[in-house]
Amino acid sequence: MIATGRHSAEKNQWLAQREADFLRVLTTSRKDGAPAELATSLARMIRDHPAQELLGRGVEPRIGVLPSGLPPEVVEALTKGAREALNNVVKYAQTDEVCVTAATTADGGVRVAVIDQGIGFDTEAQPPGLGTTHSIKRIAALGGEAVIVSAPGEGTTVEMTWNS
């Protein structure tokens, strides 16, 4: 849906921003017209995530050229992992500064990270919740890895990597 006259100027700008971010990712993430399944999947998830509306600045995507032909279950696990991480930013982080980055790693795998500038937490004292635990297990079962880096006052990074 494109902005209509029903919205305030601020809301219109926000909607335009969200769509522009989405199109930008579709443009930058593919090389020579190759399908970019993971980038497209992440871009859709980011565009449609409630964090867009709940956080004042929206979610900033930074997505490079990603390998194509990734197994669909890997695309799904990484997308769901990132979605779960965004859910937690909305619930706990107390910030509206969050970005999702995705890039090809030096050894040809992928790295997807969700980074917020929020209050952070002590990862030793506070084990991850059910959803996050499930995300981490799903990625591990496919041979990938998910780690959470956080400290009080330092924001939180959820980092997922997968190598073929």
Partner: protein, 224 residues
């Protein structure tokens, strides 16, 4: 009250440029007294603010790295601003000596103000986006970074603040800042050849940036 900083803007998308200029005027201590659609027009204009934002793709056939060098030779500091980021040209303009790179994002204009203020203080800021795209550099002859420098680039590219990056690496904020300075120096000293005009034209064509646009310096109107 912070002192007013005047900057120039070179962008062939007049609507984008005017939108940014208006936002600056209302929300910041940055003012844009000079706007131009080409580097030549900007260099001929007076006054001539030292700091200038430059659209990566001006649609007049000029090469991004050439534009940066022409501005630097004339004594300007260049902030590259793009709507659509492209690794190749971000890297080349960095090597050509551009001071900073940012994606033009309406909700992030405060970041552009931060960059302008840092430049005005004499710093060479590396934004998260800049670090992100430099970290994607996979050219075989790219500048050699140490493992720590590569790690710093990746973490800054994630948008993590310098203090937090320092704590993760067991070092201070100023150590992280000097890693970034060294990385930027390796790029500006790389001496790698720039792409030729043909490479740029091919790329622009692929991106459909080669559509005919009115060049106000050459003819009397789009119909002629």
């Amino acid at each position: 009250m912070e002192q007013l900083i005047n900057i120039g803007s070179i962008d062939d998308n007049v609507m984008d440029a005017e939108g940014r200029a208006l936002w600056f005027e209302v929300k910041s201590n940055v003012s844009v007294p000079v706007t131009a659609v080409s580097v030549a027009e900007f260099l001929a204009a007076r006054p001539s603010p030292r700091i200038v934002t430059l659209d990566l793709n001006l649609g007049d056939g000029t090469l991004p790295a050439d534009n940066v060098r022409a501005l630097i030779e004339a004594g300007h500091k260049v902030i590259i601003v793009t709507v659509v980021p492209d690794k190749k040209w971000i890297i080349e303009t960095t090597e050509a000596g551009a001071s900073a790179y940012l994606t033009s994002r309406a909700n992030s204009l405060d970041k552009l103000v931060d960059v302008v203020q840092a430049l005005d203080r004499g710093e060479v800021p590396t934004t998260a986006e800049h670090a992100f795209w430099l970290a994607q550099d996979d050219r075989p002859d790219k500048p050699r970074l140490t493992d720590t420098e590569s790690k710093v680039l990746r973490l800054i590219g994630d948008g993590i603040k310098q203090e937090a990056v320092g704590r993760r690496l067991g070092s201070s904020r100023s150590t992280v800042a000097s890693h970034l300075t060294n990385i930027r120096r390796k790029y500006s000293d790389s001496g790698l050849p720039y792409s030729g005009a043909a490479d740029y034209r091919d790329w622009a064509k692929q991106q459909r940036l080669d559509r005919d646009r009115h060049d106000p310096t050459k003819d009397t109107g789009p119909e002629s």
